[in-house]
Every structure is written in structure tokens, then in C-alpha cells.
């Protein structure tokens, strides 16, 4: 086969490959291929990759920074809005509280006033009662004394004395009440 090929080559057929050249061609290409494949292309690929990363990394970093800035801005806005809301809430709360306080105070004042008035009334009533009591006794005594003087004898019988006085006083009270109701009318 080789002999045939070489013979053919010597007959100057340009399409028949001379074997030594064929081998050299394979060898030469193999050298180029292996150097590029094993050594040089991995080396350049690494750098191309790094460069791509550097460029894309830069872009990504910028994007991240922008995103962060936007986030922070949003946060601030949220916080501000929240603070405003809170302030408004506090204000209204304070107003409410103030109103409640005033109402309470007012109610308390009212209550105290009524208490004082009631106490005053009670006092007056008590005083009146005591006065009436005292008066009754005094009037009774005076009347008794007077009656005793008039009759000239001491009405020793206490029970009778008391009955007489009470009757007298009741008569007085009825007259006074009739006067009072007449005056009220």
C-alpha cells in the first residue's frame, strides 16, 4: 500500500498524499493542538472568565448598592410615616385623655359639690332638728312654768305634763306647717 502510494506520488498525481508529509502534518498539528488545548486555552479562558466576572461583578455590585440605597430610603420613609402616625395617634390620645380628665374632674367637682350641699343640708336639718328639740324643751318648760305660774300649782305629774305639752306643740306644728304650705303655694 505504502509502496503504491509512494509510486503514485512519484508519478506526480497531486491528489495522492506523500506519506512523510502526512506524518509531519499530523505531528505538527498535534503539537499545536496539545499546546493550545492543555496549556494556553485554559490559561486564557481563566482570564476571560475573570474579566467577565470583574465586569459583571462591578455591575452586580453597583446594582446591589443601588438596591440597598433604595431599601434604606424606603425604610426611612416607612419609619417617617410611622413616626408621623404615632405622633398623630399620641396627640389624639392626649386630647382624648385631656377631655376624659376634664370630664372626670368636672364629675368629681360636681360630686363634691353635691356632697357638700348634701352635707350642708344634713347639717342644717340636724341643726334645725336640734334647735327644734331644744326649742320644744324650752318652750315646753317655759309654757309649763308659765302654766304653773298661771295655775298656781305645779303640775307635778310628769306624764300629764308631757302629754299636755305634746298636744300643744303638735297644735303649733300643724299651724306652722299650714303656714309653710300656704307660703310655698
Amino acid at each position: 500500500m505504502i509502496a503504491f502510494v509512494q509510486m503514485a506520488a512519484e508519478e506526480e498525481n497531486p491528489l495522492v498524499p506523500p506519506i512523510p508529509e502526512f506524518v509531519i502534518g499530523l505531528l505538527a498539528f498535534a503539537i499545536v493542538f496539545f499546546v493550545l488545548w492543555k496549556k494556553l486555552l485554559p490559561s486564557i479562558n481563566k482570564v476571560l472568565e475573570e474579566r467577565r466576572d470583574a465586569i459583571e461583578g462591578g455591575i452586580e455590585k453597583a446594582e446591589a448598592a443601588q438596591q440597598e440605597a433604595a431599601d434604606v430610603l424606603q425604610q426611612y420613609k416607612d419609619q417617617l410615616a410611622e413616626a408621623r402616625h404615632e405622633a398623630a395617634r399620641l396627640r389624639s390620645e392626649a386630647q382624648e385623655q385631656g377631655a376624659t380628665l376634664i370630664a372626670e374632674m368636672r364629675a368629681e367637682g360636681q360630686r363634691q359639690r353635691e356632697e357638700i350641699i348634701a352635707a350642708g343640708h344634713a347639717q342644717v336639718e340636724a341643726d334645725r332638728k336640734q334647735a327644734a328639740q331644744t326649742l320644744r324643751q324650752d318652750v315646753g318648760k317655759l309654757a309649763t312654768d308659765l302654766a304653773g305660774k298661771l295655775v298656781g300649782e305645779s303640775l307635778d305629774d310628769h306624764a300629764r305634763q308631757s302629754r299636755v305639752i305634746d298636744r300643744f306643740l303638735d297644735g303649733l306644728e300643724d299651724a306652722a306647717e299650714a303656714d309653710a304650705s300656704g307660703a310655698a303655694r
Binding site: 497531486p14 498524499p17 506523500p18 508529509e21 499545536v32 493550545l36 494556553l40 490559561s43
Partner: protein, 275 residues
């Protein structure tokens, strides 16, 4: 047979220097013989000729360039690294990711990138002073590269689809085709197993071969016509040489690109689901 070769006297200049028109000397047109070189020296029983030497120097040049550009890469690239990255990125994105997708294609990036720059440099030898011979215009080199792609294509086909699925993939098996299925299968198998690797190698080879022949023709003619009023024709031929150099620079890059584009395409075919 060797007596006809124009390269016998001088390996670097592929013609005789004292032969001009009107001097009783015939024009020695370039041909297949222009692509065959005598061994320059022998190392360990292997006879090195010009194309082998150029292939090895080219290899060193590629490795040197990428070593200088990529061995100690910086995050902020220097000039060389920037150029290397641009080339690398162009093939990686424009060819591999485009054809195979980022996920599937990542594995094949080193192969496709190496193939592109290898082919391109080997093509470029066509216009580099003193060398001026595209290594890829010797069929062995494109064939070796196409063989690598072919082996990868076949092994990937079976690895991805299994034995039966692999054959289905290679033969374009599709039940819905009905009675024409055998014909389709035959054609697909023929194309995928035989035509593809052949055309893959020959497309590159033929482009470089033709380009070099044209360059050689105009260069030789420029020199040959440089006598008497032949100088006028010589001038035209020289302009054509310059234009062809520019055109070849373009073709060298395009052919390298096409070569890896097809390689990617084949890999994609191998990785795709069988019908």
C-alpha cells in the same frame, strides 16, 4: 523523472534565473512539478523537504504567538493578547458556539481553534517572502487534518447514537421516504463516509494549489518577459502578481474559515439525533 523538475538547481527559486523571452529560451510553465521538492536534509532517516520544514516552522510560529499572547494572560490585555483573544473569540463564538451551541461546543473549541490557526498559517506561507509556498497545497497536510476531523466525526456519530443509531444517522434513515429509502441511504452513506472527507481535504488543497500555481505563473512570467519590449507584458504580469497576492491573502483566511466551519458542521451532524 526528476530531471524535468525546475527545482533542481535552486530550492528557493522554482525556476532558472537566466532564462528570458527572446533569448532562445522557452518558458517553463509552473505545474505539478512545482509542488514537489527534493529533500533538503536528513534527520534520523527522515528526509526533510521544504514543505515539511515550513510546516514545522509554522507550528513553532503558532505556538510562539499563542504562548506570547496567552501564557501569562492579564486581566487588562496587552497588544498581543488582545489580538490573540480577538482571533480566539472569533472562532469560538463565530464558528463553534454558532454551530454547536455553547454547552455542546465547549469541548471542541480547542480543536477547532487549533485547526483554524494551523490551516491559516500553513496557507499564509504562500505569500511570506522566501518561503512563498502554501504548505496546504501538498495534499498530505489537508488530508491529515481532514482525517482527524473524519475520525472524530465517525466516532462521535457512534458514541452519541449507538451502533444502529449511528448507521441510521450516517445513512439518513427515514422510514417516511418509502421506496426511495434505499437510494437515499446509499447516497447518504456514500456522501458521509467517502465524499465528505475527500472534499473536505481537497477543497482546501485545490484552492491553495490553484492559488499558488497562479501566483507562480505570474511571477515566472514577470521574470521571463523581462527582456526587450516584453517588459510591457512583464509590467502587466507584475501587477497581476501583486493583485493575486492580495487575493490569496483573502483566500487563505477564507479557506481556513471554511475548513473549520465544515469540521464544526460535521461534528454537529454527528451529535444530532438520528432520524
Amino acid at each position: 523523472m526528476q530531471k524535468e523538475l525546475a527545482v533542481s538547481a535552486d530550492q528557493m527559486l522554482a525556476f532558472e534565473t537566466d532564462c528570458h523571452i527572446f533569448s532562445g529560451c522557452g518558458f517553463e510553465a509552473p505545474g505539478v512539478h512545482s509542488f514537489i521538492f527534493k529533500p533538503l536534509f536528513t534527520v534520523g532517516g527522515i528526509e526533510f523537504n521544504k514543505t515539511m520544514l515550513l510546516a514545522l516552522v509554522g507550528t513553532v510560529a503558532i505556538v510562539w504567538f499563542f504562548w506570547a499572547a496567552f501564557a501569562r494572560p492579564k486581566l487588562v490585555p496587552g497588544k498581543l493578547q488582545m489580538v490573540g483573544e480577538a482571533g480566539y473569540d472569533f472562532i469560538r463564538r463565530g464558528v463553534v458556539y454558532e454551530g454547536l451551541g455553547k454547552k455542546e461546543g465547549e469541548k471542541y473549541v480547542p480543536l477547532i481553534v487549533s485547526l483554524f490557526f494551523f490551516v491559516w498559517i500553513m496557507n499564509m506561507w504562500a505569500v511570506i517572502p522566501l518561503a512563498q509556498f502554501p504548505v496546504t497545497s501538498v495534499i498530505s497536510y489537508p488530508a491529515a487534518l481532514a482525517l482527524i476531523v473524519y475520525v472524530l466525526y465517525i466516532s462521535l456519530t457512534f458514541k452519541r447514537n449507538g451502533f444502529v443509531g449511528g448507521w441510521k444517522n450516517l445513512s439518513g434513515y427515514d422510514k417516511s421516504l418509502g421506496p426511495v429509502l434505499p437510494l437515499i441511504m446509499f447516497l447518504e452513506l456514500f456522501q458521509n463516509l467517502l465524499v465528505r472527507p475527500f472534499t473536505h481535504a481537497v477543497r482546501l488543497f485545490a484552492n491553495m494549489f490553484a492559488g499558488h500555481t497562479l501566483l507562480l505563473l505570474f511571477t515566472l512570467a514577470t521574470w521571463y518577459l523581462l527582456n526587450g519590449f516584453g517588459i510591457l507584458y512583464s509590467g502587466v504580469s507584475f501587477i497581476m502578481t501583486v493583485l493575486m497576492v492580495a487575493f490569496e491573502l483573502f483566500i487563505q483566511a477564507v479557506q481556513a474559515y471554511v475548513f473549520v466551519l465544515l469540521a464544526t458542521n460535521y461534528i454537529q451532524g454527528a451529535l444530532s439525533e438520528s432520524h
